[in-house]
Symmetry: C2
Subunit: 328 residues, 2 copies
């Protein structure tokens, strides 16, 4: 939920008794520090911060040019200039000492990681200040690696989940459904397993807890909260609740969103998509160019398979409803 | 589980307190009658029979020839003759009056359908003798169609499931995970929803029941039972419990099995796969040719994503273990 969470939403969720989160993978160290301090100003409760742990992109100039050539007609249709090249817009946390310093200084109670395993030094540093390290996994093999690295808990992300798949190697996604992945991990590991993917109501949370999950992580369910940073067009798209599809064509890594032109037009027949996050630079520029023309089709509109059950209510109210549903 | 179920397995499961099933989609009417009578000879309890409700194949001669040309090297490597053409090996239940007659005469308590909605006459005929009609669905839209047609219950098949996906249109599979699909269907429909896909133990069954499922359907969990018709090599493959993947290259419809040459070699770069079940004729012939050389790689080895949790025990014992696990 990088770019969608806000300190207000995270604090409201934590105050209501759940664990609020900040998606900081796309943030600068200064912005990350500001958001963490923003949560702390609103609540004394625990909260979670999430970072990207991807391998640095390797795509060469030819690959980047081929992708831009593939996207050129879409830029031109917006009257926009085709970018000359693609920028590496996100620094992986393992290669970002300034961000690691923010973590060590601000000491968030829970630090979670997407796309891979953080360095031993980072894991040790978080453990040293008493923080927990949660690592998102999508397969039994990734779970073994995360546990071996010293994860405090695993986030088992089912294929139902909206946004980016957490698979470590972008080129291979086993697409495990949540139930199968959860049961395998619960039976094999003693660390807590947090269930994620397609969970939209308290009944589903109760269900995954009864399957052995220690907790449930919900993303899409909170995007429609008024405290989120979701744009009005994104909220409109969620309301329609149409089909979702996983595509690598938006960012260079598989990610699930409401079906739009990236899934239906750009991905089919496309050349090899440049590595994450190089491709994402192009998608963001195309979206910005279209948005300037009041054309919102190129928004990624990340959403999980449960999006049809999305509800619009403040974060605290949603947590209260979820808790009530868990009981009945 | 067509070709894997047996009257002995179905009867053992029903006697143990669950609902045993016969997969009869690949059977002749005479064989279907014999198996149904075989169950009745072993138990007075209710049981389920399953049929295929696919659209008849439309692939022309060019498409069939292109597919055989693609497979030719694999046949040749086995010293086998490449087939001249592909046969339509399974008659859809809607176009199979002799099989419908078997249903009306033998009156199985539950008749379930895969790949689509049975004709109004067939649904009415089953309801008329007091039977239940269960229809497998993979999306909210398919669920609406099944309910509108008069289904007594829906089988919500998650993407986790082994074997053939039940999606109505072979060319579009939304790949809903079980949790998201289940919650959407439970909240929208009043007919019972049966959860299927990746369920291997009683804890998972308890979990889906607590999410609103009326029952759980397990397939892969029962393949390793000694009473099943699974070949020894299939049992060996299940024991290894490696990764599964969905491919259309075996049968012409998306289906999940343990990763083998169809997923890794034959599907990539393949021409358009002929419609189900034409392609399946080629896969079965290639498997038979290889098997004669003691090469079992071309077996489809259908299995769900929970296969790593497979257990080898008689059907009655497995049902007892599942019930025990549901309580704890």
């Amino acid at each position: 939920m990088a770019g969608v969470t806000t300190p207000a939403l995270a604090a409201a969720v934590s105050e209501a008794g759940a664990l609020g989160s900040l998606g900081l993978g796309a943030a600068s160290p200064d912005k990350a520090r500001e958001e963490i301090e923003g949560v702390r100003a609103l609540t004394d409760r625990a909260f979670n911060v999430n970072f990207f742990c991807h391998a640095p992109p390797m795509s060469g100039a030819d690959e980047r040019r081929a992708w831009l050539a593939h996207l050129a007609p879409y830029f031109q249709a917006q009257g926009a200039v085709v970018p000359d090249d693609l920028a590496n817009i996100y620094q992986p946390i393992n290669d970002n000492p300034a961000m690691q310093e923010v973590i060590f200084q601000t000491r968030p109670p829970v630090v979670s990681f997407h796309f891979g395993v953080p360095s031993a030094a980072l894991i040790d540093g978080i453990h040293d200040y008493g923080g927990q390290v949660w690592i998102c996994v999508t397969t039994p093999t990734e779970a073994e690696q995360a546990v071996a690295a010293g994860a405090s808990a695993l986030i088992a992300q089912g294929v139902e989940a909206g946004g980016h798949r957490g698979n470590f190697a972008a080129e291979h996604d086993a697409e495990f459904g949540l139930v199968a992945l959860l049961r395998i991990l619960v039976r094999r590991h003693s660390v807590p397993i947090i269930a994620a993917g397609g969970l939209m109501d308290g009944t589903a949370i109760h269900g995954v807890l009864s399957m052995g999950a220690a907790a449930a992580q919900l993303g899409t369910a909170f995007v429609a909260c008024p405290e989120s940073a979701a744009a009005p067009a994104y909220r409109d798209a969620l309301r329609l609740g149409q089909a979702t599809e996983i595509t690598q064509a938006i960012s260079g890594r598989p990610a699930r969103g409401l079906v739009g032109p990236f899934q239906s037009d750009i991905a089919p027949g496309a050349p090899w998509v440049p590595d994450y996050p190089l491709a994402y630079d192009a998608a963001k520029q195309l979206h910005a160019a279209a948005k300037a023309n009041n054309d919102h089709r190129y928004a990624p509109n990340w959403a999980g398979q449960g999006v049809a059950l999305s509800r619009e209510m403040p974060g605290a109210e949603l947590v209260a409803v979820l808790v009530e549903e868990m009981k009945t």
